[in-house]
């Protein structure tokens, strides 16, 4: 696949007409990268260096929304882009510390390994030559995955932003209650590569739908039956109204006022809506992590 065609930047700055400007930038990066030891490089490495140049320019344009690439020399955009990527990396470090601080402590191996891997990201990240690269393994799945189109520190930043939102929501419940719920969801949740926010959100969502005390995310067989009846027969309009009300009540109950959190919860509820529609009565048990009464 062609690198330049793959990158959306082609449309943004119309690289096809600016090859004469782009080549000197790449040439300079190659000289810096090889430190003059080699005048040639494997195509893959050269491509990665070019992608990094594009990533820096794109990042700068992203930070300066009104700026048109056509009005500025690429060299200037690249230089300013490198500074922006550096600034972004520093901001992302703060997000990393925030994510560690808000870690709800559910002892998930994937979660722990991912945080450790992001720690190494900052040591491995080469923003000078491979700023678009993500030199670490992200195992822990978010409820809403970060778009694959994001690269480098922008991907890690977005991942951490979402992770912090999930952390904050999970921290609304006592660790004991949350772990009890997760064990009902899957007794081996610690070893599995699964998202832990989603079952907690779903159960809390079910609790507020039933107007119960949402501080304790716990539903039993009777609750499950009520929830099923609440959505049967299926009425799309009614279901959406209930969904919005439930998210609002959750936000009020836990004082989650920021728009980022609200929109993340709403997105999660939207996905849940589809499953509520498609799932059978028995399926509701698994969906809401129902605690058996026996």
């Amino acid at each position: 696949m062609s690198l330049l065609k793959k990158d959306e930047l082609v449309q943004t700055i119309n690289l096809s007409h600016r090859r004469e400007e782009l080549y000197p930038l790449l040439d300079r990066q190659v000289k810096l990268y090889t430190m003059g030891d080699s005048s040639s490089l494997p195509t893959e490495t050269a491509q990665e260096l070019l992608r990094s140049v594009c990533f820096c320019i794109e990042t700068h344009l992203m930070f300066n929304g009104g700026k048109s690439a056509d009005d500025y020399p690429l060299a200037q955009l690249f230089e300013e882009g490198q500074r922006d990527v550096w600034r972004l990396t520093e901001e992302t470090k703060s997000l990393f510390y925030e994510a560690k601080r808000t870690n709800p402590g559910f002892d998930s191996i994937a979660y722990r390994d991912t945080l450790n891997a992001i720690g190494t990201f900052f040591r491995m990240y080469d923003l000078r030559f491979f700023s678009h690269d993500i030199p670490c393994m992200i195992d822990y799945p978010l409820c809403h995955p970060v778009p694959e189109s994001l690269e480098g520190v922008r991907y890690i930043g977005e991942y951490l932003r979402r992770l912090i939102l999930e952390n904050r929501f999970c921290s609304c419940f006592t660790q004991q209650d949350a772990i009890r719920l997760l064990l009902v969801h899957h007794p081996e949740y610690r070893e599995l590569v699964i998202n832990l926010f989603e079952p907690i959100f779903t159960c809390a969502f079910g609790v507020v739908l039933l107007n119960q005390d949402s501080a304790a995310p716990r539903l039993d067989d009777t609750d499950c039956e009520w929830l099923y009846r609440l959505f049967r027969p299926w009425d799309e309009t009614q279901a959406r109204i209930r969904l919005r009300e439930a998210v609002n009540r959750l936000c009020i109950r836990f004082q989650l006022w920021d728009s980022g959190m609200r929109s993340y919860l709403m997105d999660t509820a939207e996905v849940l809506l589809l499953r509520l529609k498609a799932t059978t009565r028995e399926g509701y048990r698994g969906l809401f992590s129902i605690v058996s009464e026996q």
Binding site: S2, D27, D37, S38, S39, S40, L41, P42, T43
Partner: protein
């Protein structure tokens, strides 16, 4: 991929021809010159080797350094000058990739020159074998030394 190749200005091929032309001044002292046709063939060979080895050239290629390093060799004659340069260029790019970028341009050319003028007695093919052995030493070959510093002086 194609776009990346398109980034390299076409005028660089012309520059390579000019570089080869200027090298004639030095090599002529040793009775070695390249004709216009030779230069074109060598330029095409370099482009072909780059494609085959999956590399991109950002300078003028190795010819200038190769000519400076090899022109005083006793084994080089006008009859096989262009052909040998062509082989050396192929080997240069091949071993740049094969060594995983461990050898700098100068290190590799220096090793090639020592092998060519030394134990390989002017045989590019044998030189290629020795370079290959240096990169992939047999466990019992104690003489081969370290991978990134394969050739001892002398």
């Amino acid at each position: 991929m194609e776009d990346l190749y398109n980034l390299i200005p076409l005028s660089d091929k012309q520059k390579l021809m000019t570089t080869l032309q200027s090298c004639n001044a030095l090599s002529a002292r040793y009775g070695l010159t390249l004709s216009r046709v030779d230069m074109q063939v060598l330029a095409e060979k370099q482009a072909e080797t780059l494609r085959n080895t999956g590399r991109i050239e950002f300078g003028h290629g190795p010819y200038e350094k190769l000519i400076y390093a090899f022109c005083d060799s006793l084994y080089l004659t006008q009859a096989d000058y262009a052909e040998t340069l062509s082989k050396l260029c192929t080997m240069f790019y091949h071993f740049k990739s094969e060594s995983g970028e461990q050898w700098s341009d100068d290190e590799l050319i220096d090793s090639m020159k020592r092998l060519y003028n030394g134990e390989c007695h002017g045989s590019p093919d044998l030189m290629g074998d020795r370079l290959w052995q240096a990169l992939h030493p047999h466990p019992n070959d104690e003489d081969m030394g370290e991978e990134d510093e394969p050739f001892e002086e002398g």
